[in-house]
């Protein structure tokens, strides 16, 4: 059996609106293995982004436990400071978002290399170029984000997320701002990365069709995982 890279036990996240308690994630337990490509789908407000934020150490849960590589990250007795969360994030995770969030004043290559400015885990300019080549946008290296298409911007964001050689890639609606053709291309890229780099990918999406590209599909509703589908054999 594969070693779980992420293990959540009874994770719960409750938001307060006045005196009212709104559970966004409700007692979710799951295991994600190294190299898995997992899609999380569900309607708006189902808690999928909140769950991914907790799994990606962007947020603390209200209760429950989270283990990363067998190490306890959150538990009843342990909550992490923003500084500790940042350390874990930069050592383990890469993030891509619906809105790309590229720095508009930096070129494509500079955007890709930016994480190394803050945290030098591995990689040089060659590493950045290698990623751009892998994603098929090396010819855009000196362009500014405003000069390239949405699909290319998302590829740049993926390259930026990969430059620190993360173990887990979190993709929150990575195709939300792209047309169908480019959406398929981006998901293919994620799939290839997962297959070829032993990278664990967690993708949140509205699009059921795209979600089916993953090894596993988790469907969330009202803060709970309603259904799990395993397509691992399809991926091979």
């Amino acid at each position: 059996m594969n070693q779980p890279i992420l293990e959540a036990i009874n994770l719960k996240k409750v938001y307060l609106r006045g005196s009212e308690q709104i559970p966004a994630v409700n007692e979710v337990s799951l295991r994600i293995n190294r190299g898995d490509f997992v899609s999380i789908i569900g309607p708006s407000g189902s808690g999928k982004t909140t769950l991914v934020n907790i799994l990606g150490c962007l947020d603390n849960p209200t209760s429950g436990e989270l283990n990363l590589n067998g190490r306890s990250i959150f538990s009843h007795a342990r909550r992490l400071s923003e500084r500790e969360l940042t350390k874990i994030r930069r050592e383990t995770f890469g993030y891509i978002f619906q809105n790309f969030y590229l720095i508009p004043t930096l070129t494509v290559l500079e955007n890709v290399m930016l994480p190394l400015t803050f945290y030098r885990k591995k990689g040089s300019e060659d590493e950045g170029m290698k990623l751009l080549k892998l994603l098929g946008i090396e010819h855009r290296k000196d362009h500014l984000p405003g000069q390239i298409s949405g699909g290319e911007m998302q590829r740049v964001a993926i390259a930026r997320a990969m430059v620190n050689v993360p173990e887990i890639l979190l993709a929150d609606e990575p195709t939300g701002n792209l047309d169908t053709r480019r959406s398929v291309e981006i998901v293919e890229v994620l799939k290839d990365l997962s297959r070829n780099s032993d990278l664990t990918v967690l993708m949140v999406t509205h699009n059921q069709e795209l979600a089916r590209n993953a090894d596993r599909l988790l469907e969330m509703k009202d803060g709970l995982i309603q259904e799990t589908m395993d397509f691992a054999k399809k991926v091979g």
Binding site: N53, R83, T86, K87, I103, L106, E110, M113, F118, R160
Partner: protein, 397 residues
């Protein structure tokens, strides 16, 4: 790999007009600051130079003379007081004295001077002792007088220009209607000597019927001599008063201190306005880049990294603005000196605003320190942005 400084610099270029306006604010403050400090330094240096150019550190004169001399210059009165020239012999023996020169000041009304006439100053001097004390005076044409009783004049640079005289020309002393021969014209010295006409002492005493009388004694002290001791001794002489040029300097600097305080206040206000401008610019920039900063934290930036990034932006603004201001101050130092000269009751000759490398470095360090202080709050605020808040703020927009 791109550095934090490059990221900061590129970000400042994002809002060019805003960055430029902030730069202008900093540059203006730096300009005011450099000019003020340059004025402080320059005024004192120019005053010292003027006093050094007098050639002597003490002046002895008949009691009441300075005030009467002033009246004379203003109204053309004739109330000058005199002291016997024999006093030279008693003072020259004092151990503190290196050299001494007697001077007879006289003024006549010249109806041809200016639009409605003016006072022309004549200094009766001993060529030997006077030229020894004022060895820095150089001749543009000619030389000192041929003998002590000659009817000859040496003209200061401006006096010669005004009267349009050259060596060999004649000049008529108004009121006395006596003709003198111009035997020398001095180079411009930047002192009051430029406007003076020098006559042999004995000749002037004869012309004004003041045999063996003088108005002023210039006394040059020996190196490291005790000036106050000599002053005390001179005060014991009857009807003599002593003016120390150090005192004159102190008095003038005292008068100027009010102007300095006012200019300093303006500089402080300008600096405070520039600081507020910097804080505002950087805060706005942080606010606009709320999500971007949050994302930087998701890709590995620690709070200290963000703090540094924002702080570097402030430093870049202040460094460029400071250098620009210093450049402006250097370029316009002469014009600033002229403006200040118009505003002050008395200003020495020479440049009033003196900007040297030390002053430039002091100002640059001061501007950078102010920049660092201004950047603390926006940088701290940016460092505290949580990535999740940044992402959620996008979702709520």
């Amino acid at each position: 790999m791109i550095t934090k400084s490059q990221v900061a610099l590129k970000n400042l270029r994002r809002k060019k007009v805003r960055s430029l306006l902030t730069l202008v604010g900093i540059a203006l403050s730096a300009w005011v600051l450099v000019s003020l400090l340059g004025f402080n330094h320059g005024y004192e240096t120019a005053l010292n130079k003027d006093i050094d150019n007098m050639g002597f550190q003490l002046m002895a004169m008949a009691k009441g003379c300075p005030y009467e001399a002033a009246t004379l210059m203003l109204k053309g009165g004739t109330g000058l007081r005199y002291m016997p020239q024999s006093i030279v012999d008693s003072i020259v023996k004092e151990p503190e004295v290196e050299r001494i020169t007697p001077i007879l000041m006289q003024a006549v009304f010249d109806p041809n001077k200016g639009e409605s006439g003016g006072i022309a100053g004549y200094f009766g001097v001993e060529p030997k002792s006077f030229s020894e004390l004022k060895s820095f005076l150089k001749f543009r044409q000619g030389r000192w007088f041929t003998d002590e009783n000659a009817y000859e004049v040496v003209m200061g640079f401006e006096a010669a220009e005004l009267e349009q005289r050259e060596v060999g020309d004649k000049i008529l002393m108004p009121e006395k209607n006596i003709e003198f021969k111009v035997v020398g014209v001095l180079e411009r010295s930047g002192t009051q000597d430029d406007g003076t006409i020098f006559v042999p002492l004995k000749t002037l005493q004869k012309v004004f019927d003041k045999p063996d009388e003088i108005t002023t004694l210039g006394i040059k002290l020996k190196k490291d001599a005790d000036s106050s001791r000599l002053e005390a001794k001179l005060y014991k002489l009857p009807d003599i008063q002593v003016v120390s040029l150090a005192q004159v300097k102190e008095t003038i600097m005292g008068l100027i201190s009010t102007a300095k305080v006012m200019v300093l206040s303006i500089a402080v206000i300008a600096i405070v306005i520039a600081m507020v401008g910097v804080i505002n610019t950087i805060l706005m920039s942080v606010h606009e880049r709320f999500q971007e900063i949050g994302i930087l934290k998701t890709i590995g930036a620690m709070p200290l990294d963000i703090f540094q990034l924002i702080w570097i932006e402030t430093l870049i603004l202040c460094a460029i603005g400071g250098l620009l201001g210093i450049g402006l101050a250097l370029a316009f130092s002469k014009a600033t000196g002229l403006v200040i000269r118009q505003l002050l009751p008395y200003s020495p000759s020479g440049g009033l605003v003196l900007i040297d490398i030390k002053l430039i470095l002091v100002t640059l360090v001061a501007v950078l320190c102010i920049g660092l202080l201004s950047g603390i709050y926006p940088a701290w605020k940016a460092g505290r942005i949580r990535p999740l808040e940044a992402i959620r703020s996008e979702a709520s927009r």
